[in-house]
């Protein structure tokens, strides 16, 4: 093979690798940038943050919906499970979980929940999780990710009431069972 052909081939192969790495890495990079923004704002992992009503000043996540109240919990279930609890409002209300590559691996909305409260235990894969009690167990495909509560503001007059409901949502760490071999 001629020398210049080798160089062109090497360039094309390297470009293809960089292409794939870039496309795959972008979602992880976006999640990392969110984590860095949260760290800068002193928001801890495994703690729920109730965002104020979205305005033009809201610059954390692109294309936010001004009709929703958002609460978010950046999680890491490698060392502890997380118990999510929240009252269900009488409006559209989804709770969604996103893996570290931004895949939405689980979502539940107010119509799916048959009681007035939701209880979910989020665990990592291959973990000895604690007794979930009456909570639904959700297994996260990656140890790190983001959980998002959304509440639809159907009526501006009820905004304060919905904010009160928003504030009652919780995400609390719970210890994994220890292996006793």
């Amino acid at each position: 093979m001629k020398n210049w052909v080798k160089w062109i081939l090497a360039t094309v192969i390297l470009a293809a690798v960089i292409h794939l790495v870039t496309v795959i890495a972008i979602p992880y990079g976006i999640m990392l940038s969110l984590k860095l923004k949260s760290d800068k704002a002193n928001r801890k992992v495994n703690t729920l943050f109730h965002a104020p009503r979205v305005t033009a000043e809201s610059r954390r996540v692109v294309r936010p919906s001004p009709d929703l109240l958002y609460s978010a919990c950046g999680y890491d279930v490698s060392k502890e499970a997380l118990r999510f609890t929240a009252p269900i409002p009488d409006t559209y209300w989804p709770l969604s979980f996103f893996a570290s590559n931004t895949d939405n691996f689980f979502v539940v909305n107010d119509r799916d929940v048959k009681s007035k409260h939701i209880k979910i235990l989020l665990v990592g894969s291959n973990t000895s999780y604690p007794d979930p009690g009456d909570a639904q167990v959700v297994v996260s495909p990656t140890n790190k990710g983001v959980a998002i509560f959304r509440i639809l503001i159907k009526n501006e007059d009820r905004l304060n009431h919905l904010i009160q409901i928003q504030q009652q949502a919780k995400c609390k760490p719970q210890q994994y069972k220890r292996n006793t071999e």
Partner: protein, 204 residues
């Protein structure tokens, strides 16, 4: 003799380093450039067009490929699947011209069969457009309608009577139509259901 040979070797090494550097540089430009180009182009293959509006039925689903996943993370992070929310987006009017804040537009339509819908305007940076009244969207509840239930939403930098969505100081903008908990006939016919039209008016 020895010095000449050393210089020759040095030149050879420098030439090789330069070649490696060029290979890496060209590969970086080609790799990153083609990645962003593909993120923009590949998801269009699975996209559905309905009038000026575009959506992708795989948004928020596990079937999304790596290009769609990257695209969603850049301009629609934390999107839900189509049974929860359908996200229609447009950067163009019904005639296919880019949406520009120095033009007036009218969004004209009726209700969509869903639990809730809303239409939101975003600036070029994909964030809400600042305005004095904090008016960023119209939805199925706050939109004024005629006796037939039809509505007209004015998009303009200057105040309009009725439903007015302010466009800020200028530049390009885009619109998102969100349909929450759509009826099955909506998410099964995303390309054919009746969606609001976007009609260009006067430009400055």
């Amino acid at each position: 003799m020895k010095d000449n040979s050393k210089d020759h070797d040095k030149k050879k090494i420098m030439k090789k380093i330069l070649k490696y550097f060029l290979v890496v540089l060209i590969a970086l430009v080609l790799g990153i450039g083609s990645a962003f180009f593909s993120i923009n182009i590949v998801p269009r293959k699975s996209s559905i067009k309905n009038g000026a509006w575009i959506t992708n039925p795989l948004t928020g689903s596990k079937e999304a490929n790596m290009y769609l996943r990257a695209a969603v993370s850049l301009i629609g992070l934390f999107a839900l699947n189509k049974t929860e929310t359908i996200y229609y987006t447009t950067f163009k009017d019904d005639d296919g011209n880019p949406l520009r804040a120095d033009c007036d537009y009218i969004i004209e339509g009726g209700d969509m069969d869903a639990r809730w819908w809303s239409i939101t305007a975003y600036g070029e940076d994909h964030f809400l457009i600042p305005n004095d009244g904090d008016r960023y969207s119209y939805n199925m509840k706050n939109t004024e309608r005629d006796k037939n239930g039809r509505y007209k939403i004015h998009l303009s930098t200057t105040p309009k009577k009725g439903n007015w969505l302010p466009l800020g100081d200028g530049g390009k903008f885009s619109l998102s139509l969100r349909i929450y908990n759509p009826a099955p006939n909506v998410y099964e016919n995303m390309g054919t259901i009746q969606l609001p039209r976007i009609i260009k008016g006067v430009c400055k």
